[in-house]
């Protein structure tokens, strides 16, 4: 897992729901869409055109409070498919945070991030230490780092739940070596 990531910032407001990331009538209603196809509808209701025309792989999302509120649908799947490198938010819903860890998309709670960076500026984020540097202003901000050795840390560092589980089911003898 690449621990230091730099990218251009897209800013979103408070309470960006997973409905916005993965509209029910577009994605849940069409279970055979690939993650890439589903991602085209990401933020369609709140920021039309963003997913299809604006965001680029390696970009960073900065958001307000309760990012990923609402449904347990995996919004991180769409953010991942769009190539988002890191998500930083004032706060993140519990369900979305777990989905992000399990998807292997670094998503950090970063109080103060909304005032720290403007849209279009570039950030460098160390996803292990939580140190965020604004490359345009030179300022730094401390995001909440995952506790080293904690289950979410281990899952994220494995690259997501699937990779983590593949090792664990062998270790526990559920699947032959």
């Amino acid at each position: 897992m690449e621990t230091v990531r730099t990218g251009k910032v897209w800013k979103f407001g408070d309470r960006i729901s997973t409905d916005f990331m993965m509209p029910g009538h577009r994605v849940l209603a069409n279970p055979d869409l690939t993650p890439e196809e589903a991602a085209k509808f990401c933020m369609e209701a709140n920021r039309p055109g963003w997913a299809e025309n604006e965001v680029q792989p390696g970009d960073i999302i900065v958001a307000g409070i309760n990012f990923g509120c609402g449904s347990s649908r995996n919004g991180s799947q769409s953010l991942n498919a769009l190539g988002i490198a890191v998500v930083l938010a004032e706060s993140v819903s519990r369900i979305h945070l777990r989905n992000a860890v399990n998807t292997g998309l670094p998503t950090l709670v970063a109080p103060g991030i909304s005032d720290f960076v403007e849209e279009g500026q570039r950030l460098e984020v160390n996803i292990v230490t939580g140190v965020v540097t604004n490359l345009d202003t030179g300022e730094t901000l401390q995001a909440e780092a995952w506790e080293e050795g904690s289950p979410p840390y281990e899952i994220l560092m494995a690259g997501g739940l699937d990779a983590y589980m593949r090792v664990k089911v062998r270790e526990r003898g559920l699947v032959a070596e």
Partner: protein, 415 residues
Amino acid sequence: MGMTIAEKILAAHAGADSVKPGQYIWCKVDATSGHRLPELEALGVDQVWDKDKVFMVDDHQAPPPTIAVANKVKNLRRLIKKYDITNFFEYGRGGILHQVFAENGMYAPGELIAQCDSHSTAGGVFNACVTNANLDAVHVLAFGELWFRVPESVRVVLNGTLPGWCVGKDVILKVASELGTDFGLYKSVEYVGPVASQMTIAQRWTVSNMGVEVGAKFALFEGDEKTDAFLEGRVDRPYEHVSGDADASYAAEYEFDLSDLTPMVARPGDPGNGVPVESVRGERVKIDQAFLGSCTNARLEDLEVAAKILDGKKVHPDVRMLVSPSSQNVFGEALKAGYLETLLEAGALVEHSTCGPCYGGHLGILGDGETCISSSNRNFKGRMGSPLSHVWLASPATVAASALAGEIVDPREFL
């Protein structure tokens, strides 16, 4: 130092004497749902940790509206057989999972359950720690275990006496409007006080169900004789009620006096946008659709109050009213009680039990510019279909009264 309800339940499932907020623990989980069976199979694991503790129903697009969905459910049925899952509920014998699982004895006081679907906080009504596991439900299927970060606990004290026309939905819309939809973020919320005791199980269930709408990990009630009455005949294993200790540490305590509560409605955009219905009466908000359904508010007494309001009357000519009971069992009870006949005669469309309309999946998607008053739980932009549509949240009584009037009205005008 004493412990809160969540701390007691988590400690018991972690094999620890005590736990404290912020701590990471691995817990034994008492039950889960079968949504992640495809992922389990993909890992090459050929059995679940306990086939009797896996519950499954297909509810979101049920029965399938497309071939793609039909194939997904077909695969699910194959996996139910392959893994010999005991508690699977086929169309006609199921409904919405939170209701169906409870009717079939999945939840009991003191238990820890992690299952798919965000509204799993609903199970907190049974004095159990029930919450969402989405992708990592596969970890539960394989090992019967899941990691948790012990949450801080907060208490919401519901004082006073709930006026006769107000129900659990009005309570939670009031709480969310005052405290915001973030106050429970990453926390275990305990609802206590005279109104918590006064409310029926169905009403408490609405409050726990919308726990996720205030960010909560758990949305708990204490156990009492109403809890036991619901569980009787459904749960045959022993259980004990769990209460917070007097010297337990709560991060916050919020008090409400609900004696003067009036029916609430949440304006479109966020479940925290609640205001008294009477305050929007002057706006003459015309509605196109009235939806009485979802895991939040489609239980027997919800259908009963709607039937009472619509008895001998007709749904407004410019409105279509959709009714979808919370389970097929509730559907049957409402049929026998005559509620469905009353609703049919009033011109409502009675659907089977499904999640479809609530999340904009199928069986009632909104078009551009349309407005719906809904007994469901979310009113995000585009939630029920078009990003240009509008969803107002309210109690079943307010939904039914508004269906009659063709605009959002206070149900007290009709009761």
